[in-house]
Amino acid sequence: MPILTKDEAQALLKKVLSYSKADECEVNLSGTDSANIRYARNSVSTSGKVSQSQLVVSSAYGKKSGVATINEFDDASLEKVVRRSEELAQLAPENPEYVSFLGPQKYAESKTYVKATADITPRLRSDLVAQSLEVAKAGKAIAAGFLEDNSGFTAMMNSKGLFAYNTATNTNFSVTVRTEDGRGSGYATRGYNDVTKLDTKKATQIATEKALKSAEAKAIEPGKYTVILEPAAVAVLLENVFFRLDARQADEGRSFLSKAGGGTRQGEKLVDERVNIYSDPLNPDLPTSTWNGDGRPQEKVSWIEKGVIKNLSYSRYWAEKKGVKAVPGPDGAIMEGGTKSLEELIAGTKKGVLVTRLWYIRDVDPQSLLLTGLTRDGTFYIENGKIQYPIKNFRFNESPIIMLNNLEELGKVERTVSVESNQNYLLPPLKVRDFTFSSLSDAV
């Protein structure tokens, strides 16, 4: 442990299942190496590496199920965790929504593992952070940032013959650079499966430039503005759409996809026809696992096509009840974009606000998907195609559904990271009219 090969994982899982006496048994196994360096006030504050493994055993008698976990792998421990899950299953009340485990499935080979990331050394990690710190110090600014990398495997097997295995790597980087007087602040974030694509120096240069340029912020009146949202800002808004594609929530009236009077809005055109959102586990720029946690294959799925809600995700229980295919929710989401760079979007804007990043996003009303949050770390006023001056931060109250109806332009797609969920996405910068800023914030 923690990284087992496919054969090693299979052998261990078979052994666990051999102890089972329940009607059904399913076992999930995972192991991860995670390392990070955290820095603030222009120096490293903490760093470390954690190796962890976990075995999750689910046993069922009829519709009664129990789950137990363990991180010891000797034979006695493996038998103990199986017995514990069986004991809990016998004690549990019947679950009326219990669905029998899946049988064998076919999965495509994933592209989520990159050896260079799994092989990161403490030296490389510290060099990447040192490059970031050098840029901030050269700009007479103060950096705080976080670099983390993970490599690991997941595997599952059940008593019906299903077996799945995957390995994955990822590295996420974020940096906030502030001026020495605390009056300016800038931000950049990057995420990749492949660490060789990560340029901490370039990202910190962008954050430093934003910090230095944002120091003399002027207050402008809150109201409706044309905004250019950088991909990091788009991510935290649109992931609230991605996370809420669930059919049951819609059927039960708890979602923006609920139809008044009952049913869902699947098949309805809800947003601008230029909006195309899909997930594809085999996309080379955003590869994700080809199976999900309950063993269902992850395939390419169109969620919004030409503004129309094409698919909703289903739990296996809800799909069985509704008599439809149990499509799992997306692991990574991709929005199609245009050809323009961020600079070109700015150049084509008569009056507007450039938003680097949004922060503390919370839903206010799940039925309209109204969200609130604030701009942060680089908010600028645009006039006649140029950034004119930095402006004070705003609180917004806006629904991404209304926003996607007020779409002006889509820029070039890039991989970005959500500061809220740490998820990676492929998203374009968006130019949107009538974005609602409801109050000013004094925060820098």
């Binding site: 603030a40 976080f146 983390e148 809800l270 206010v364 009303d365 629904s399 914030s441 004094d442």
Partner: protein, 309 residues
Amino acid sequence: MGMGYEYINHRPQNKIVGGGGVNLYKGRYDMLEDAKAGGAQAGEKLKAKTVEPGKYDLILDPSHLWLTIHESVGHPTELDRVLGYEANFAGTSFLTLDKWESKKFKFGSDIVNFVGDKTQVGSLGAVGYDDEGVGCGQWDIIKNGVLVNYQTIRDQAHILGLKASQGCCYADNWSSVQFQRMPNVSLQPGKEKKSVDDLIKGVEKGIYIIGDGSFSIDQQRYNFQFGGQLFYEIKNGKIVGMLRDVAYQANSQEFWNSCVGIADASDYRLGGAFGDGKGQPPQSNSVSHGSSTARFNGVNVINTARNIG
């Protein structure tokens, strides 16, 4: 074995009746009674009047106010945030050291007193010793409206001239680095005898809010927005019906300076969170915030209703 809830025994003496006849609970509560009431309240809310945006006097129940305290008092008084150690994620704080040094920074009105307390009985953050082995206790953070202290660990105590840490060091796991985490931070009850009804009686145009809802605050803890669960309209000292689509926005300092009334200790209750997030990689902390019902004058209320077609 049953479903589990059968084993939760309520205590009738823990039940109190809030403004508008809403059942509220101290300590143990009656889950089935609360669930039935929730269904009826949801039905009432569907038919409720949508709020007219504007300035209102707010009467905030402890089941709501704990979250406002958490975000606008608990987080900005974390000394590591003030110093810049959380700048990349959670942010920094408007309660900078010069404000503390002045000994006259008016965080709130004269009746506003906050204490940090790691030992409060019944709270989610109660421990005898922190993760550095420091014995825990209680201390003033805001006294008579003035910022007088922060939350510290051993590394930081000397910055404030303290002889010892306040015992606020915590790691959520064997694999996490211990760092400064929020203790229970609570608003002290009013010293004069005052009930919730007494607070409501004095309000001409207001809203009484019960339960927590949507919450968001900026990275230096100036500008916040909070929703809630139940919103009752107050006109000329009386509750006249339910409202919907309510959220309020304010600046932390202005909000706490608008606090004009706090019910007495008989109304004091705790609310809290099991999963307060902070740090990179993120760590979780459990913490409670106590208060009695309190009144805030002239707070900006917005209407959150939208039509998505």
